[in-house]
């Protein structure tokens, strides 16, 4: 506990120092929401920490201040001078108490009632006397600032560079073996040092996890719940700074999980869950990312309630909410001051927390993801890079320059020669299709204004919003780089994340994957943001389509999205088989649709269309161009394959409906199902049923010819004579009686036409599916 207290004191002191500027700014401008949020987070964090460190005085002060600040955030109180003063007095007091805890000296608590009272709306200002907390106890451990570690790290880099320089000089000037041996020893030492310095920044995540069992136990006990905590992956190592930065988010999430997620034991019993809630905190390393998952088996987030609150608070309109997808709705939980809970507890529940959590995680270059199962629990995954300053990168060549790309941002690297990659031009945008996935394509060289070199490789770059393919010349190397921020003029380009000085001695720029996407003008669906701009975006967005001359001489167009590719096939590959025209291509047989004849042709361009699962082909005379479809489409009459008529360059063009093509192909390929009428009733079936069935698209036979298998057999329930039933053929039985006999008789009254047809259709469909 002592360690935790030390940590708390050190952290609070550091935050207070950082907060000093914010406080002054807020005092000057009390309506500034950002400052307010910063101070709010501070008191909230203090409240959270001292809740489990058992510091009732701090808890009381911070809770009181938080209440008032929450009221200001909600707009129910105006941040006037008295209020600002009272809050600042409390923040000062927190600082004093923290110093007193650290120094181990008692501090008089008489004035704290006054401080809390001063927060009331009608309070008079109180004069606040700063108490001198006296001497500070000598530190028991050395707290190294990360700055110092950074300097050690950059000193290491310098040493490596100097060694390289020395080695080069010695090589140039002919070498003395003794000098070489000394240099060799130096190299080994430098490498070891570098390793050690890197390791000084690494710490086991256990340092973070060790405080959790107690915290979970205390928090749960406070709320009258029982929670079993499982910790996994305590030995995962990550950057010391990362651990410090992860602490607050983790504490917030766990407290939220216990308070909001896990239900009271009685409610859990009613929901059929074990009374003891389960909470799992696990860490694992994935590449150079650390994933920390906090999963509970509680009630999950009540999304409709959350949306309702968001609308009520004016975060979004209900129309916005309608348009949001599930993920965007769930993401509302990150809105400052929004909670799905109405009640306020001393543990959490004012909606603070998740916005703080996300801010903290993103500050260290991490991402946070939610996986919500209503009624069954919530899993929150925090993904952070292993370390801030040393970054595994991939060095790429573009033109005659080298750049680094963070390895974490690259999902995959593929060469353009491979079979799996195709590049198409859609409108004026390029699209790369990598193993069936379409990605926007950005070619780096022209984006950077570099010439020379051909794009031969694709790096699939993942950003927070989506992935895209980045065409680069070559991949040269992978290298661990010490990344420093670049000058403002360099960062202003938006495409760099920093600069580095690799062992080559030539500076290298680190590309920013998300920045490149933004500069290239790629738009990904971005939850609420995207939804809000959608109406305008839709108006501008034009659907690209392929314009072609069809076989009957008509000029037609089809939406490009439906076309997988256009290729030329020999006419001989098209045959009429099994009731429809089929095209043999790439070892597969596809239904093909032709609207004219093929006389005089040896070859034929065909559009290969796919709806994701099945594929069909459409023969055309000649592909012409890729055009943007106008938004106005005159609806078609008659031919079901034409969705409408559009005006392209002053010419009427029929727009084909891929949906109809697929629907058409399905029905063509479906041969009429063969229905065996096993009639023992003097031809009743043949006379009465047969016309009905043939109208419904069945082919009826009374006897099975060789090599022919019926799709379904119809028989009378009573007289089941004749050949033994083929097990593979479903049987529909008919009965003469209007009412069914007792028991589970599946037979159908023979004049109930609807029931009969539906039973037949089911039987045929079931057999086809099987």
């Amino acid at each position: 506990m002592d360690d935790l207290l030390q940590e708390f004191v050190a952290e609070t002191r550091e935050t207070l120092e950082a907060l000093a500027g914010e406080i002054v700014a807020w005092e000057a401008q009390p309506t500034d929401g950002a400052r307010l949020d910063a101070i709010f987070r501070f008191v909230h964090t203090v409240k959270g920490s001292c809740g489990f460190l058992d510091l009732p005085r701090l808890s009381r002060l911070s809770h009181a201040a938080e209440d008032v600040l929450a009221a200001v955030r909600e707009g129910t109180r105006a941040p006037d001078t008295a209020l600002v003063n009272a809050v600042l007095a409390i923040v000062d007091r927190i600082g004093e108490i923290v110093e007193a805890i650290d120094a181990g000296v008692p501090l008089d608590d008489s004035s704290e009632d006054l401080l809390v009272a001063a927060l009331a709306e009608d309070a008079r200002p109180v004069s606040h006397n700063l108490t001198n907390t006296g001497h500070r106890a000598p530190a028991r451990s050395v707290r190294l600032s990360v700055d110092l570690l950074d300097r050690m790290m950059s000193g290491m880099s310098d040493m490596v560079l100097a060694r390289n320089e020395l080695a080069r000089r010695l090589r140039d000037e002919g070498s003395d073996p003794r000098v070489e041996a000394a240099l060799e020893r130096l190299s080994v030492t430098v490498a070891e040092m570098r390793d050690a310095v890197t390791r000084t920044r690494m710490q086991k995540i256990e340092a973070l996890f060790s405080a959790l069992p107690r915290m979970v136990r205390d928090t749960a006990a406070e709320l009258g719940k029982t929670v079993a905590l499982t910790l996994e992956g305590s030995d995962v190592e990550l950057d010391r700074e990362m651990i410090e930065m992860m602490r607050d988010p983790l504490v917030h999430i766990i407290r939220n999980a216990i308070d909001h997620g896990i239900e009271m034991p009685a409610a859990r019993g009613r929901a059929g869950k074990r009374e003891m809630g389960r909470l799992t905190v696990s860490a694992r390393q994935s590449g150079n990312q650390i994933l920390v998952e906090i999963a509970d088996d509680g009630q999950g987030v009540d999304v409709p309630r959350l949306v309702a609150k968001a609308v009520e608070r004016g975060v979004c309109t209900s129309a916005d909410a309608e348009r949001m997808n599930d993920a965007a709705r769930l993401a509302l939980i990150f809105t400052p001051g929004l909670s799905s809970r109405d009640s306020v507890t001393s543990v959490s529940g004012r909606g603070v927390g998740m916005d703080v959590v996300r801010a903290n995680v993103e500050q260290i270059g991490g991402r946070i993801a939610l996986s919500n199962r209503a009624g069954q629990g919530l899993a929150i995954t925090i993904q952070v890079p292993l370390t801030l300053s040393i970054m595994p990168t991939i060095v790429i060549g573009c033109g005659d320059q080298r750049f680094a790309l963070p390895r974490a941002s690259i999902d995959e690297i593929v060469t353009l020669r491979g079979e799996t990659v195709r590049i198409d031009t859609v409108g004026d945008a390029a699209v790369a299709t990598v193993r069936g996935t379409r990605l926007p394509l950005v070619t780096l060289a022209p984006l950077l204004g570099l010439t020379g070199g051909a794009a031969r490789t694709l790096a699939i770059v993942g950003t927070r919003d989506g992935s895209y393919a980045l065409a680069i010349d070559t991949v040269l190397d992978t290298e661990e780089l010490v990344i420093k921020p670049a000058a403002p003029a360099v960062m202003a380009t938006g495409v760099y994340a920093g600069q580095s000085l690799p062992d080559s001695g030539l500076p290298m720029l680190l590309l920013d994957g998300a920045g490149i996407a933004a500069v290239a003008g790629l738009h990904f669906d971005r939850g609420i943001m995207a939804d809000e701009v959608q109406p305008e975006a839709l108006a501008d967005q034009q659907v690209p389509a392929l314009l072609f001359d069809d076989l009957d001489g008509q000029r037609r167009a089809m939406a490009l999205a439906a076309i997988d590719r256009v290729e030329t096939v020999p006419v001989g590959a098209i045959r009429r088989a099994g009731g429809c025209l089929r095209l043999t291509v790439d070892g597969a047989v596809l239904p093909i649709r032709l609207v004219g004849d093929l006389a005089g042709r040896d070859e034929l361009p065909v559009l290969r269309l796919t709806d994701g699962s099945s594929e069909i082909a459409y023969g055309i005379a000649e592909p012409l161009d890729i055009v943007a479809l106008p938004t106005e489409i005159a609806p078609a009459r008659g031919d079901g394959l034409v969705a409408g008529v559009v005006l392209i360059e002053g010419e009427q063009v029929e727009l084909l409906d891929p949906l109809a093509l697929f629907a058409d192909a399905e029905s063509v390929s479906a041969e009429p199902a063969l229905c065996l009428l096993r009639d023992d009733d003097a031809g009743w079936m043949n006379v009465f049923l047969r016309p009905v069935l043939e109208m419904a698209g069945y082919r009826c036979v009374s006897r099975i010819e060789d090599g022919c298998r019926p799709a379904v057999t119809l028989t009378m329930a009573a007289g089941d004579a004749g050949a033994p039933a083929d097990d593979a053929v479903p049987v529909v039985r008919l009965r003469r009686e209007r009412t069914a006999p007792l028991g589970t008789d599946p037979s159908i009254y023979r004049y109930d036409k609807d029931a009969l047809l539906s039973a037949l259709a089911h039987a045929v469909a079931a057999r086809r599916a099987g």
Binding site: L448, A486, P488, A489, A492, L501, P507
Partner: protein, 143 residues
């Protein structure tokens, strides 16, 4: 009396206040920074630090410095190191800074960077503020 470094930029003599000057060097290879403002010639390494190299001619709105120019004055602005290219360096000497003569119309980049005059044996030299040559993030965005 203040200490000034006398340099030549685009054929003109200028006086640079020495408190702005960290060192005077001959740069090694310069790596270009695509998409950056035209006055950013690139990055160069100097004693394991990365310098942002400023094409002084472009920054002043005159013609760009020749590609071969390597001599630079190192200055530090807001925590970042910049290498400001110069034609040549002449001297370090004490001068009395004088205000810009009234009616003296400096144009282009000179107007922002000129902070006064010194008189070197009857020869007026413009006092150059190096930090005014460094493109800020905002200026670079506007460019």
């Amino acid at each position: 009396m203040e200490l000034f470094l006398i340099a030549h930029i685009a054929g003109r003599g200028v006086a640079i206040p020495t408190e702005q000057v960290e060192s005077v060097v001959d740069l090694g290879d310069v790596v270009a920074v695509p998409r950056a403002a035209a006055s950013v010639r690139g990055l160069s390494a100097l004693r394991s630090r990365v310098m942002t190299v400023i094409d002084t001619g472009t920054a002043l709105g005159i013609e760009p410095m020749p590609a071969s120019s390597r001599r630079a004055v190192i200055t530090r602005v807001e925590g970042h190191h910049y290498a400001v290219l110069v034609d040549s360096l002449e001297d370090v000497a004490h001068f009395e800074p004088l205000p810009l003569s009234s009616g003296l119309a400096l144009d282009r980049g000179w107007s922002g960077a000129g902070k006064g005059l010194v008189d070197r044996d009857g020869d007026p030299l413009l006092i150059l503020d190096l930090s005014a040559l460094v493109p800020s993030a905002i200026k670079a965005l506007a460019a």
